[in-house]
């Protein structure tokens, strides 16, 4: 006990009683409520009945009695009134004293501090989880980036290989083109393939000492498939590999070609072609067309403005129809004159504003006088590029010039 005079001890007791709302209960060994007193109402403990079961009336006693040790304390217990009490237990003889002291104020202070601490902890845990997720996402992204880089590298290698193969194909297409000739008349040409490999090809050769064949074809579409077909068709003509065909008769040649190159057997590809045979002794040009743009004959010498004559002929593209008829046309060429044979890529030029170059403008360039020392075909290419607004044209630029 405190070594204080009784008066002071009593004062202290009264102080605790007034500040802590002291209430007490006495429970016997049979767990029956013996008596209850003090500020019970403060805790909402009303209507307590002595000599009745304590645990039924005071549920928090359930399972606690007999005490495991004495004294025994349960801190910060919420009571029915909403107040919070420290509950002290003391064994006394065969009974248990239960003393309630109000600690609501301390409880509320502790709750505020704990609330802040828990809120902070929950926030930091959430932050840690987010950081972990971000790091995992970053790692996944880095991995994906590496995989993408590897794929891009593989793709680039494949692309380079395909480009190399395209260049090889282009070299081959170019290799089968005949060399320009100067005697007994001049034949020159210009061939600028588009960025993709195109389907243009052409050739010329002497069928016999008097007959000179001249031809240009354009397979629909672009790419290796179109180029392969154009090379095959040109080789057929160059080697006169059409049975029972007189290669001096343009209509016969195109009809035979049409039978040999039906699109069903050639990957759905068809082509346009102009085929002409020049009989040198008479100056007579016989020709036929399978849907190809008409060549233009320009009369007069190149140093002066000439007149343009399109050499029209009708017939469907090769490969489209199983049975097709081609009509042979004829014209006598008088020297001096130039015959221009070309594909549609030479004059179907899109301007930068999207409009198409007029055919009349192209004809005008062909008939224009060419200053001495300049290549007429290079001038044409220059004109096409200037009209297109770019050095790179959309289609193959193929033109053959025969000068007599």
């Amino acid at each position: 006990m405190l070594d204080l005079p009784a008066r002071i001890s009593e004062w202290l007791l009264l102080l605790v009683k007034s500040q802590r709302a002291v209430a007490h209960l006495l429970v016997d060994g049979e767990q029956m409520l013996v008596k209850a007193g003090g500020d019970l109402e403060h805790y909402g403990l009303t209507d307590l009945r002595p000599r009745q079961g304590a645990c039924e009336q005071l549920p928090f006693l359930e399972g606690l009695l007999p005490l495991p040790e004495s004294p025994f304390l349960l801190r910060s217990m919420g009571m029915p009134s909403g107040r919070v009490a420290d509950v002290h237990f003391f064994d006394e003889d065969d009974a248990t004293w239960v003393v309630l002291l109000d600690v609501t104020s301390e409880h509320d202070d502790a709750q505020k501090i704990q609330q802040k601490a828990y809120d902070m902890t929950l926030l930091s845990q959430r932050e840690a989880r987010l950081i972990a997720k971000l790091e995992a996402a970053h790692q996944a992204l880095t991995l994906a980036h590496h995989e993408l880089a590897a794929s891009r590298e593989a793709l680039q290698l494949t692309h380079n290989r395909l480009q190399d193969e395209l260049r090889d194909a282009e070299r081959y297409v170019r290799a089968i083109l005949p060399a320009p000739i100067a005697e007994p008349f001049a034949v020159d040409w210009l061939f600028v393939p588009s960025t993709e490999l195109g389907g243009d090809s052409f050739g010329y050769h002497w069928i016999d000492p008097e007959h000179f064949a001249l031809y240009l074809l354009d397979v629909c579409g672009h790419g290796v498939g179109a180029a392969l077909l154009s090379v095959a068709a040109i080789n057929t003509l160059r080697s006169s590999a059409l049975l029972h065909t007189d290669f001096r008769q343009p209509d016969e040649v195109l009809a035979a070609l049409n039978l040999a190159y039906q699109m069903e057997q050639h990957n759905d590809l068809y082509f346009t072609i102009w085929y002409g045979v020049y009989h040198r002794p008479t100056g007579r040009l016989r020709y036929a067309s399978a849907g190809h743009p008409p060549p233009i004959l320009v009369s007069g010498p190149s140093r002066a403005r000439g007149d343009a004559y399109p050499l029209q002929a009708k017939g469907p593209p090769v490969g489209m129809l199983p049975i097709a008829r081609y009509r042979c046309e004829e014209r006598v060429l008088y020297s001096p004159a130039r015959l221009f044979l070309f594909s549609d890529g030479v004059y179907e030029i899109h301007r930068p504003d999207g409009s198409m170059l007029e055919e009349s403008a192209f004809e005008e360039v062909l008939t224009r006088a060419v200053p001495g020392g300049k290549s007429e075909l290079e001038e044409l290419l220059h004109f096409a590029r200037a009209a297109h607004g770019s050095e790179v044209l959309e289609d193959d630029f193929s033109i053959v010039k025969m000068t007599i």
């Binding site: 549920p59 928090f60 359930e62 919070v84 709750q111 704990q114 609330q115 845990q125």
Partner: protein
């Protein structure tokens, strides 16, 4: 009437108070208010034909500094271990509490409640850990104090095990 003390234990912020409020008062609030000390509530249910009153001790959660006081658990006939499904670390806390209760109080019936099932898309509990606990014989319920999912069933099941 049969009366049984049941403790609701677990890490802080896992939803112990919300589960008790959902079970006793059928209400839920999203606001989080930490529990200091213990709050005692009761509810009567029927096991078979016998009415049983559960005296529910909603005990302050365990944190890094304060372990759950075993004095609160004394006299309990069973207990719930509550885990927040969105916080994997609370499963480890539950495991620690179970070990302590078994050691100090004894092998009384208990149940593991994986709470916040309404946020299942954010759950972080390792599946292997849960499966290992199931193999070890732990009774596990996936509950939501917010929607009430499996809450009633969990209390009923624990009551049944305590009376058996």
């Amino acid at each position: 009437m049969l009366q049984k003390k049941v403790c609701v234990l677990g890490a802080f912020g896992v939803g112990k108070t919300s589960l008790v409020r959902r079970y006793v008062q059928s209400i839920f609030s999203d606001a989080y208010l930490t529990t200091v000390g213990v709050k005692v509530d009761k509810k009567t249910l029927t096991v078979g034909t016998e009415p049983v009153t559960l005296v529910l001790w909603d005990v302050a959660g365990e944190d890094d500094v304060n372990a759950i006081r075993m004095t609160y658990v004394r006299g309990a006939a069973g207990y719930f271990l509550v885990v927040d499904g969105t916080r994997a670390e609370t499963l480890e806390v539950a495991r620690r509490i179970q070990e302590r209760v078994t050691k100090e109080i004894g092998p009384i019936p208990f149940m593991l409640l994986l709470n916040k099932a309404d946020l299942q898309e954010n759950w972080e509990l390792p599946t292997q850990s849960i499966e290992a606990l199931e193999r070890a014989g732990w009774a596990i319920f996936r509950t939501s104090a917010k929607t009430g999912d499996s809450v009633e069933e969990a209390f009923q099941e624990l009551a049944k095990r305590m009376v058996a």
